[in-house]
Symmetry: C4
């Protein structure tokens, strides 16, 4: 695991790992909610972040791919490269 | 030390280090409160985080093990792998 | 991408990457707003930060160069070395 | 520069660098306020943090030395090892 972030409401946590996925977890139950797939290389250290209003999750990887995800559904919103 | 986090109320700090433990410290006195044992490899950089309400502490290591801890008692709550 | 930060109002995100630029993005549209140029080496991991009032963006690189930027315009404000 | 943190009031920023010092800067003027000396090895990545009330600054290095500093004066408060 290379990056973790709590959602602003504290109910969920996101983890980025060597398997190239980002996963969302329910803090109370420990249940996995979503596996966000789409990055083709490892998530960068500390490059998983929730928007302050909790609606979007932002992730970035070592190849320069950045993705916005809808935090409520785990759907990918936008991809950019930097 | 590879990861540090203040509790939201500012009274405690958590540190993750090469000895595989996470330790909780009283900010005012500098006293060690708890040594959280259970990770079998080093804590990942920046992968120690308090929940916004301060009740849970989340830690993750390089092998993919993630743990939730009760921040008030230092007891382990849940373990997951990613 | 080695560093990401949401603006405090959640409307923008800053990314630091191997191309030595820092870029500001509109969260809603995914549009690139500014490319902040001036660092001559890679941005350090996790060394992109918005001031709490959102007016300034702070960035630092591996050579010790630190820069303050006006977040609204992308103009460089101050450079220091550490 | 390996670690940066804004003070909660946004008036100062702390930087940790390869010279083993942590420096506090005035955000508005860019002036260096204090050089915090005492770490004998490099500050760890992302291991510089202000307490939520802004009174203390916490720093940690790769050797396991952790220090609390009075943020207002730059004086060292406590040293611990982890």
């Amino acid at each position: 695991v290379y990056a973790v972030a709590f959602s602003p409401d504290g109910k969920r946590i996101a983890s980025g790992s060597a398997d190239k996925t980002v996963r969302l977890w329910d803090v109370t139950t420990g249940q996995e909610l979503f596996a966000l797939r789409g990055h083709s290389v490892m998530i960068s250290q500390d490059c998983v972040a929730f928007a302050p209003d909790g609606k979007f999750l932002f992730t970035a990887d070592w190849s320069g791919t950045m993705k916005f995800w809808h935090a409520a559904t785990g759907e990918e919103s936008t991809t950019r490269t930097h």
